[in-house]
Symmetry: C2
Subunit: 313 residues, 2 copies
């Protein structure tokens, strides 16, 4: 059976998988994006990994790449969560080392494609996928098609502006949603809550750089006041924003995925409460909040591989 | 040549036109929506008007209707700018009186269709039309198709929530965009500015019910402080919101139409300034703000008629 390589370039980790047409992940590997200070060092490791996989798996027909700020022309522009400068022509750099067809799209568009081919959006024509990783990404499907906008920068909801909020994003823009709602956003909210309240908390002895998402979940389970406040605050902003997105396109469902969602009910319950409290009367009970149907499978690399099937078939 | 009847049901006025396939308006008439306290009285006048037109014009092949909150199933649900109660089955009521095919869509979707067939969106595949009448309506086209959502209530941007704003909409919802940005919204802002400042103004001697949009334009032209403040405030909210909509779908253009736009530079200049100040760096100079290409022609009835051509051809 034919195989495709799916690559998910995240701000922290780059994941690479060999995926069969029916959605089985035959091989999965990863390395740290963040460790590479320059794009040339990063692309060298990526090309080495691809070379090994292409040698071992004989039926690979193409490579699909999901990356932040991917443009329609095959480049990555001003990525806010990657530290490399300028415009990055990733397709060209990979093409130099092998002659498989290569397709590039926004990482969150790939996640949406993965949900549509293999996950919780199989029968849906109108939905939003929100990826809550280092940043907040989004992929939007209307009338059964990914919306890309005039040159590929539709669905940049991480930069959706909250006009009463002043936290800066990686692009140095005030009030962007991802500054609050993302794995990084909730860590920032932990600091904010520590600054606002005087309550004791495990987080008073952990630095920002040593703080991980799972620590916040563990603390919430133990009743840590600061952790509980942080989830409540984050969920409220997310739920209000999702209700606002519904006025745009009335999706059948909004699918949440990514690291922050691993905290389960701690993030989902306040999100759903705020969503329902802010939803317009004529949308009530018509829009589902779901989590990914590809939980352990990794929707992003499946979705990147789906780019190949979509373009080749 | 075949003809279609286009009907635009606005909160204040119902406009009816006989439109040829190539977009010529052969006959235009209207009556006041607001004068009818009940739906049965309204539908009687509408059916009388249709009867006369169908008798006079021999080649009418269908009727297209644009109405607020039109659903996919042919009804109008909880319309915030019409005073009639409950769910209104308008197609059924017209069908009783004639046997032409009848098509119904959201009034702003019709405006978008009109711009796409005959106006300033002729070559565009991704754009938004914002209608600034009694309320604020919107029609959104992505990948060349109107987005309707799961049952026809996509593009309800009049209810897009401004989370630092507290003015109520007709649905008794706080902070909706149309409470600020619409022909009614700017009248409310005149009152707000009169309450905030002590400056003399022509509006100190005009009641809310006697205040009309053109009075505000005339006052601005004479340098009336309250009128100038009202345009500045309205344009700022509109421009900020439009910049936020861009993060959703990266349109090629946003087309403004309706009564409020007749004030020209007074509303357009502060809108464009706020739009550009709030647009993300990677969208700069890529999204045009336009006015309707059907100015005197009435985009809404042309668009309602376009519903007929789209469905029949």
């Amino acid at each position: 059976m034919n195989q495709a390589i799916g690559i998910d370039i995240g701000g922290t980790i780059t994941k690479i998988g060999v995926i069969s047409k029916d959605g089985n992940c035959l091989k999965k590997t990863h390395f740290r994006t963040k460790e590479h200070k320059s794009f040339s060092s990063y692309i060298a490791q990526l090309n080495d990994t691809l070379k090994d996989l292409i040698k071992k798996y004989k039926n690979i027909v193409g490579i699909g790449i999901g990356a932040p700020n991917a443009s329609k022309s095959g480049t990555i522009e001003t990525p806010s969560n990657l530290k490399w400068d300028g415009e990055i022509n990733i397709i060209e750099k990979i093409k130099k080392k092998n002659n498989l067809p290569i397709y590039l799209s926004n990482d969150a568009n790939c996640a949406a494609m993965g949900e549509m081919m293999y996950g919780n959006a199989k029968n849906l024509t109108d939905f939003i996928v929100i990826t809550l990783g280092t940043g907040l990404g989004s992929g939007i499907v209307c009338n059964g098609e990914i919306i890309e906008g005039s040159d590929g920068f539709a669905a940049e909801l991480g930069h959706f502006s909250l006009n009463n909020k002043n936290r800066y994003t990686g692009l140095n823009i005030k009030g962007g949603l991802e500054a609050y709602v993302s794995a990084t956003g909730i860590k920032r909210t932990i600091l904010y809550m520590l600054s606002k309240y005087t309550n004791e908390s495990i987080f008073r002895s952990i630095s920002f750089n040593n703080l991980h998402g799972e620590d916040i979940t563990k603390a919430a389970e133990k009743g840590d006041f600061i952790a509980l406040k942080a989830y409540e605050y984050t969920g409220k902003i997310l739920g209000e924003s999702l209700a606002n997105f519904v006025t745009f396109m009335q999706p059948e469902a909004i699918i949440l995925t990514g690291g922050l969602v691993h905290s389960g009910k701690w993030i989902l319950e306040p999100t759903k409460i705020a969503f329902n409290n802010n939803l317009l009367p004529f949308y009530k009970n018509k829009v589902k909040i779901l989590t990914s149907g590809l939980e352990d499978k990794d929707s992003a690399i499946l979705g990147s591989a789906a780019l190949v099937w979509k373009n080749i078939l």
